[in-house]
Amino acid sequence: MTIEIPKEKWAGKVREVKIGATQADGGTRSRVVTLGGEAALPHLGFEGALPNPPVLAIEVRDRKPDDWSPLLVQAWGEAMQDPGDWARAAEAAGAEMIYLALSLTDSDGQKNTPAKARTAVRKVLDATGLPLTVVGPGQAEIDNELMVPVAEEAKGERILLGICEEKNYRTLVAAALANDHLVQSKTPMDVNLSKQLVILIHDMGLPLERIVIDPTTGALGYGIEYGYSVMERLRLAALQGDSMTQQPMIVTPGEEAWRVKEARVGEGVPQAWGDWERRSLNWEAVTASSLLYAGANILVLRHPETLKRLRGVVDGLKDPA
């Protein structure tokens, strides 16, 4: 019996966005990542072109975080003491991109400073040739204070600057414009809010080829289904030709998954939760892999083992060999 494969005819596709600049483009990166370009639903190669597989990034901090799971501390060990060492370890573990998150304070509780932020970024840039995302601590005033110098420090490298939110995006977009970078536009799980912020950023003069959207992720068991469905709707809208939804998507399953009790706590939890380490790793990996099917273009992960497992998924979706 012959069956006709039901293919959707899409009017649009996801915009291609390039992060990082090699020497030829005035930077020092050894490679560039290209996102997007999909003319089909996630991983359905029979339907249309999928030129760029999802990118796996590792989250690195400017200093060793105080509240990360001991399992993560064990995995990265001494490298966590220095953002350059950490980034190098991440590259060795197979990361294709570094996601550097700046802290609010230093280890003594002193406020982070522009000078320290610059140093952290410089260390990471020098330590690896991977393209880079840098995000602020997430408080408008401090973000702006730190991220402008960061943008200057990385001038020419075409890094992704975050995080633009509805209430605070102007300074960051201006810094991206002045220093030839890209921005990450984050909205809370809502298709229209996502479009609106892209429009606002674009209106400031930043080309759409320099915007990556973060539709916001919930961890497995803690609201993942909301983000999952918003991502599916964004991707469907993109393929249907709605221009302002055609940005590649970055999501942070590592951060979300490692925050929840299932990953954080090893003792005094129900026996039915199973072995702590395997459960934690599964929590991150299942959160992350589910988002791949909803259309994630960059997965930001925390544990090297998750990176390895997701590598298997991404490769297997592309070419099962």
């Binding site: 991983h43 469905s229 039915a272 395997r278 892999s289 979706l317």
Partner: protein, 446 residues
């Protein structure tokens, strides 16, 4: 695909004889279209019309039920490709595969342990759905003993994995009236398997290397009189399963393609894949039965939660009744805390407090089923609402103090709340529920 009233009318005798109880054939047709009447009420429909109408009125993907009457598992009958379009209805069954090459006593022990497995997720009990028993020995007697052993240890639904009619027969006999799923009919053995499934009245899985062969096989089985079928396209990696399962689902739902209008069974551990992650794909994208080779709570728990999340109705957040919840038999001097009625939020807090041993009064405000920050951002968890809950529940009668703990994420509310609740002291708790016990230890004094 449902027919309109007019389309149905064209297939009726159009004599308006009224025997169906309706004044005209058209009136009856309208009722049929609205699924408020049954076709058999008209004694005069032709056989041809009957076939057409029945085909059009049956769902595009068949509902399959397996297991004993009091442990029924329903799978299939899905109506959409994306959960946001409506919802996914029937959660895929998660099964654990065992082989008859193990001794019956060992099987019993393993099955009893897995049968008892139960994990609480936001007040919902999640469990494994059943067991698949593979006739790996090739010997009918051994197989029959294995199936009997599993049945002795569990009431849950079974899947019988057999390659020959002899083994199928042995398995079905041992399974008795427990309505197992028989796996699988192939191009070679389908006639015999069909006979067995038919006389035992059990659903039958059809297995073929690709969708075309599979559709041909299910057509044959349908012609042989079988209605309850399950598809096994033999997918073994991330890409093939996503593609094949998507194509099957699209053909069934969008094209009303009957030969593939059945739920799919997958074996994510089969090809040495990362079983947890391949199973996760199958949960998100379209499997009906998922047979695991490993039973590991550290993997099963996240998979069960994923399944719960993906199959939640997007229209209704899971929520608990607003009100006053007493945890660990609180006394007048026990702490009072406020949270929202989003299930995930409520259980995160309630489980934490309960586990810590602290007696407490937990005020669950009506935040329309939203998390703390979502509700706050949406104006459903503001000082006024919190104050209303506290006043409405008569807590001042129950406690001897006037202190209320609010979630750290909404610290900004404390000023307003003090105004709304004169005489009460507002304490700002930690941001995450995990830290409540530590906070109380350090801060709660009477």
């Amino acid at each position: 695909m449902a027919l309109t009233g007019l389309e149905i009318y064209k297939l009726l005798p159009q004599t308006n004889c009224k025997e169906c109880g309706y004044p005209t054939c058209l009136a009856f047709a309208m009722k049929l279209a609205a699924k408020q009447a049954e076709l058999k009420a008209c004694p005069y429909v032709t056989e041809e019309a009957k076939v057409k109408l029945e085909a059009a009125s049956s769902p595009p993907m068949r509902l399959i039920e397996i297991g004993p009457a009091d442990h029924r598992l329903q799978v299939g009958n899905e109506t959409v490709l994306f959960r946001h379009e409506k919802t996914f209805y029937h959660r895929p069954g998660l099964f654990w595969r065992l082989r008859d090459t193990e001794k019956p006593d060992d099987l019993k022990k393993k099955v009893a342990e897995a049968d008892a497995y139960q994990v609480d997720y936001v007040g919902i009990d999640l469990t494994l759905d059943g067991f698949a028993i593979e006739a790996a020995s090739g010997d009918p007697k051994t197989y029959s003993a294995a199936v009997a052993a599993v049945r002795a240890a569990s009431q849950k639904p079974l899947i019988l994995i057999v390659t020959s009619p002899e083994l199928a027969k042995a398995g079905l006999e041992a399974a008795g009236d427990s309505r197992p799923l028989l796996h699988a009919a192939t191009a070679e053995n389908w006639q015999a398997m069909a006979e067995l499934a038919k006389s035992a009245k059990v659903p039958l899985a059809a297995s073929a290397p690709d969708l075309e062969a599979l559709a041909a096989l299910t057509e044959n089985l349908t012609k042989a009189g079988l209605e309850d079928l399950v598809l096994d396209p033999g997918v073994a990696n991330y890409r093939d399963s996503l593609e094949q399962l998507t194509i099957a689902r699209r053909l069934a739902l969008r094209k009303n393609f009957r030969p593939l209008g059945f739920p799919v069974i997958t074996f994510p551990g089969a090809a040495g894949a990362d079983e947890t992650l391949l199973a996760a794909e199958h949960i998100a994208k379209y499997a009906g039965f998922i047979v695991l080779d490993t039973f590991d709570p550290a993997s099963l728990y996240p998979l069960l939660v994923l399944r719960q999340n993906i199959y939640t109705d997007p229209q209704k957040p899971i929520q608990v009744q607003p009100g006053l919840y007493e945890i660990n038999s609180p006394k007048p001097d026990s702490p009072v805390m406020v949270t929202t009625n989003f299930s995930i939020t409520y259980f995160a807090v309630a489980n934490e407090v309960e586990g810590s041993g602290w007696p407490a009064w937990l005020v669950v405000a009506d935040a329309e089923g939203m998390s703390v920050l979502t509700a706050w951002a949406a104006g459903k968890f503001d000082a006024e609402r919190i104050a209303k809950s506290i006043k409405g529940l008569g807590i001042d009668q129950k406690v001897s103090h006037r202190k209320v703990l609010i979630p750290g994420h909404v610290a900004v509310l404390s000023g307003e709340l003090e105004e709304e609740l004169p005489g009460w002291q507002i304490l700002v708790g930690p941001r995450e529920a995990v830290d409540i016990s530590g906070y109380l230890k350090a801060m709660w004094t009477n």
